[in-house]
């Protein structure tokens, strides 16, 4: 990767990429959701996520110090330079599959930002404290829908089970620690993500129980997003998201 960011910038970019790609995915629902209220919810969550991405990618660019801002990092990097987790790039599928992805991710993000809000590096702590309030709202929204669909009709339950089953294999990657994480902790900016797993399990299990759903069977975890090994889906997301800046570099209005 010729555009590789220095370690702490790469650490900030991971969170920016997670939020950016999930925000882009949710944006695909705009005008297509099953009801107006759902359309508003998904679009507003998308806005929050893209706001987070702007802050984290802006921070990554500032740490790098090479003149790249959030837009430059979002629109002028290629697939292998993106470090988002595989979960967020998964296709929307039906509404239940989208909710399954949001449910697993928002609870992870809530726990992550609770910890990050307390790190020594004030730049990371400020973004996390700001985003935490919004992410808690997302987690409640997604949990409500998991219960409503899971404990709903035979049809909605079957779809919720299928959605969770699709997304489950990508959950382990959220808690994987590598050199970039360890270096960020040493620099006073990082969070021990592995230590979040037990609390995440407890939160997810409590909602699944209320939704009368069984925890999906453990599968072989699929990882690699953090080092740029993505599924085919991300390229398609980027081809749409980056089209304008690729076709007309530097265009503004």
């Amino acid at each position: 990767m010729e555009n590789a960011l220095p370690p702490l910038a790469a650490y900030a970019a991971r969170f920016g990429d997670d939020s950016l790609i999930l925000g882009q995915r949710l944006g695909e629902w705009c005008g297509h959701a099953p009801a107006l209220e759902v359309d508003l919810s998904l679009s507003n969550v998308a806005l929050d996520l893209i706001g987070q991405a702007t802050h984290f990618l802006g921070l990554a660019g500032a740490i790098e110090g090479a003149g790249r801002d959030a837009d430059k990092l979002a629109f002028h990097r290629d697939v292998m330079d993106f470090a988002n987790c595989l979960l967020v790039e998964q296709p929307n599928g039906d509404f239940a599959q989208t909710i399954a992805r949001q449910f697993l991710f928002s609870h992870y993000q809530a726990l992550l930002f609770e910890q990050m809000a307390q790190v020594k590096d004030e730049r990371f702590a400020a973004i996390a404290a700001k985003a935490l309030k919004e992410v808690n709202y997302h987690a409640t929204l997604a949990s409500d829908w998991v219960v409503r669909l899971g404990d709903g009709t035979d049809e909605s339950k079957a779809r919720m089970v299928a959605g969770l089953d699709w997304m489950w294999r990508f959950a382990d990657e959220l808690f994987v620690m590598d050199d970039v994480d360890v270096a960020a902790i040493a620099a006073g900016a990082g969070v021990d993500k592995a230590a979040l797993r037990a609390a995440w399990d407890a939160r997810v299990d409590a909602v699944l129980a209320e939704a009368t759903l069984a925890r999906p069977a453990a599968r072989r975890p699929i990882v690699g997003g953090r080092v740029g090994r993505h599924s085919e889906h991300l390229g398609h997301v980027l081809s749409e998201m980056q089209f304008l800046q690729r076709a007309y570099p530097g265009a503004s209005w």
């Binding site: 925000g23 107006l36 209220e37 508003l40 919810s41 679009s43 507003n44 969550v45 998308a46 806005l47 929050d48 996520l49 893209i50 706001g51 987070q52 702007t54 802050h55 004030e122 702590a125 400020a126 973004i127 404290a129 700001k130 985003a131 935490l132 309030k133 919004e134 709202y137 409640t140 929204l141 409500d144």
Partner: protein
């Protein structure tokens, strides 16, 4: 001079909810003769940039072109920073304001909102999100009117 800048900012409306000013909403955090410190409500609020541009235009129009605008994220904005006057303006505009102190409460949005039309507490949530990131859609069971609720945040 600081007082004059404050008065100017009190005349700058929020672009999404023009009934209240950026001061009423607690977006303006600090004012000095050199700079105005503002904070965004939600990270993804599309009005953030518009708000900064409107403040810039108002300052420039009153001869305060040298006063800079700075943005801070910390401490994060809370609905507890909305002024009492701002809450009343929201209610008069038809938006149920967040009760004072609700931003820090564990109950937050689980508590029923007071209908801004008839004052009834017999209300229910219709949609967790409304027309802007800061609002949810509610309905009054007493007067049957729908209304926006400013989310406790």
């Amino acid at each position: 001079m600081t007082q004059e800048i404050k008065r100017i900012l009190e005349s700058v409306p929020d672009p999404e909810i023009p009934a209240v000013s950026v001061v009423d909403l607690g977006i303006v955090r600090d004012v000095s003769a050199e700079r105005v410190l503002i904070t965004p409500t939600y990270t993804g609020c599309p009005a953030t940039l518009a708000i900064e541009q409107m403040i810039r235009a108002a300052l420039d129009a009153h001869g305060f072109g040298d006063v800079t605008i700075e943005t801070t994220l910390s401490p994060p904005w809370s609905t507890d920073w909305i002024s009492d006057a701002g809450r009343e303006k929201l209610r008069a505009y038809g938006i149920a304001p967040p009760p004072k102190g609700a931003g820090a409460s564990a109950l937050k949005n689980a508590e029923a909102a007071e209908c801004p039309h008839c004052g009834s507490m017999q209300t229910e949530e219709v949609s967790r999100f409304g027309s802007t990131p800061c609002k949810a859609l509610w309905r009054c069971k007493a007067c049957a009117e729908p209304f926006d609720r400013f989310k406790c945040h």
